[in-house]
């Protein structure tokens, strides 16, 4: 095989992505150091400074960043809490021949147009909408949830839930039944089996699910536009507004860069917390080679089990 054929095959994709992803994003980073010189031009790079970043961190804009972070964290947590039992149910409790159907059912909403399903919620939640009419029919007050932060939270939980359920399902599906049965046979209660066997083995899937939900959620623009009104502002709308209506590309670029920064930093902090929290568990579950001490003999040898299950 020729030495360079790999690079040649990958070259078109590489060039395409450099041309239409790397270069434009790099330009936006450069824009973020510029300014808006007058009302007619979108940006100018004559005086480079960090002023736009200072502007982003003023309360007028930074409140929206904090709001977005709150929705991102709360939305991801709620998705995890709602999605985990569903994924576990699909992977473990349901009869195998029905799993394909359930996976398909979770995918249908995921592949329905994002904007359209959000509009579905707008129809449902509107003051003159279906849920409100229903509530008034049984004597409750009319709905006033639309255009609030709660509506945005509901919307993002709904929109990203399939992205949590699917990787969790894959993760739980990989934890083989015999392994859990062995744990039960050795006298472990159900919860012990779940926390000591299933959960540690499903950890990569849980991390994948959290990232798949959290990262796009933080950049979400549609949900807040459709359901949030003025109070449910998210950074996505802020950035879009600077590019489309305010025509201040430098400020919009700085906002986009800060958004990516916040996502990266929060993911890093999250990773650090997970690492610290699982530290005792990892030490306890360490595979001990050589003469077994009494304490080590009791421990579950998860690393060895992972390799056994993966083979």
């Amino acid at each position: 095989m020729r030495k360079h054929s790999g690079i040649l095959l990958a070259l078109p994709a590489w060039l395409w992505l450099v041309c239409f992803f790397v270069v434009p994003v790099a330009i936006v980073v450069v824009f973020s150091f510029g300014e808006k010189p007058d009302i007619f031009s979108t940006h100018s790079l004559e005086h480079l400074s960090f002023d736009r970043y200072a502007e982003v961190f003023t309360p007028a804009f930074f409140t929206t960043f904090l709001n977005t972070l709150w929705i991102g964290l709360a939305g991801t947590a709620i998705c995890l809490v709602i999605g985990m039992p569903v994924a576990y149910w699909m992977a473990v409790k349901v009869r195998p021949e029905r799993r394909g159907l359930l996976v398909a059912l979770v995918m249908v909403p995921f592949w329905t147009n994002f904007l359209v399903r959000t509009i579905g919620w707008q129809i449902l939640l509107a003051p003159e909408g279906w849920l409100s009419t229903l509530a008034q029919g049984i004597g409750l007050p009319a709905f006033e949830i639309l255009n609030t932060r709660q509506a945005v939270l509901l919307g993002v939980v709904y929109n990203y839930l399939p992205l949590m359920i699917l990787p969790l399902f894959v993760a739980f599906d990989r934890v083989s039944g015999p392994l859990r049965e062995a744990s039960a046979d050795l006298g472990a209660p159900k919860w012990t089996t779940f926390f000591r066997i299933t959960l540690p083995l499903a950890q990569p899937g849980i991390i994948a699910g959290v990232l798949l939900v959290y990262i796009p959620l933080m950049g979400d623009y549609i949900t807040a536009t459709v359901l949030g009104g003025a109070k449910g502002n998210m950074v996505g709308q802020l950035v879009a507004g600077q590019f489309q209506t305010a025509l201040n590309w430098s400020l919009g670029s700085a906002m986009a860069v800060v958004l990516i920064g916040i996502i990266l930093v929060s993911v890093a902090i999250g990773a650090g917390i997970v690492w610290l929290v699982t530290l005792p568990a990892r030490n306890r579950n360490r595979l001990v080679l050589g003469p077994a001490e009494p304490a080590a003999a009791r421990s579950v040898t998860v690393p060895a089990v992972v390799e056994g299950a993966g083979a």
């Binding site: 592949w111 359209v116 399903r117 959000t118 399939p162």
Partner: protein, 283 residues
């Protein structure tokens, strides 16, 4: 496995929760589908039942054009993404080297960057290329949309094809070479058929991703070639009419048909429900 006749309380609780969440997931979709049979001026208030709003697809040129732009863009973007992604995936699986890390890093970066960042970056870039540099092709609406929609899809197809080929033995290709097949013949008769399920799945996924794309499309599209989601987004400001729901229902059926085809292709290639779930949620 527990005996099916004596289900424990916790098993039942799981079942109830699962069904409730599925109902939650289908609620707004059911509402949109139901609303498409609404004959009235506004989407949110129900007037009476009828099929009138489906006729908008034929009677309103703006609606019809938007759908056609979406479908065309979807097909072209899927072709571009499949071609580029499949070659990249093949290269990573069969000719690995140190360069591979760079490509994987780039693909990862593409797939984790929020769509809104892609969108606001492409807008000035298209203006620079099309108007400042005078390359006319970048002023074309369809070209802009295809570029924007293909970015994420290239990464998806590359992951899919790479995963499929890594899972299959390279000895098959070596055997073909040992039997004096030329590299082209080996590619055509051995590698391509092996990779085909992933390539097809990648094509169809790219197509649906493109049909779905709203954010990038809203930024790069030019008037005259507005794709369907951008049409809906602008209708959001001017007032939603039942035809939005009706055409969305048609688009949903189209998407589901494409996805059913993906599942069928993958299933025939021997994937389990979990494999299909992994593929469809983007690797």
């Amino acid at each position: 496995m527990s005996r099916p006749s004596t289900r424990s309380l916790s098993d039942r609780a799981f079942g109830v929760w699962g069904v409730l969440v599925l109902i939650f997931l289908f609620l707004p979709i059911a509402v949109v589908i139901a609303s498409s049979f609404n004959v009235g001026r506004l989407l949110v208030s129900w007037d009476h039942f009828g099929f009138d709003s489906f006729l908008a697809l034929f009677l309103k040129p703006a609606v019809r054009d938007a759908v056609l732009v979406s479908v065309w863009t979807g097909l072209i973007a899927a072709l571009v993404a499949t071609l580029l992604g499949a070659l990249a995936g093949l290269a990573m699986a069969r000719h690995p080297g140190r360069w591979q890390l760079w490509l994987l890093g780039l693909l990862l970066l593409v797939s984790v960057t929020p769509e809104i960042v892609d969108a606001v970056s492409l807008l000035p870039w298209m203006v620079t290329l099309g108007q400042d540099a005078g390359i006319a092709v970048f002023n074309d609406g369809i070209v802009r949309l295809v570029i924007g929609h293909s970015l994420f899809s290239v990464a998806v197809v590359a992951y899919l094809v790479r995963a499929r080929l890594v899972g299959l033995d390279a000895k098959l290709e070596e055997a073909s070479a040992d039997l004096y097949a030329t590299p082209v013949t080996t590619f055509r008769r051995v590698t391509l058929p092996l990779a085909m399920p992933a390539v097809l799945a990648g094509f169809l996924l790219s197509f649906t991703l493109s049909l779905d794309n709203t954010v990038i499309a809203a930024f790069v599209s030019v008037s005259g070639s507005t794709p369907w989601p951008v049409y809906v987004l602008s209708a959001l400001r001017s007032g939603l009419r039942p035809e939005i729901a009706a055409v969305s229902t048609i688009m949903l059926v189209l998407t589901l048909a494409a996805l059913a085809l993906v599942a069928y292709v993958l299933k025939r290639a021997g994937d389990s429900a979990a494999d299909i779930a992994r593929t469809m949620s983007g690797g």
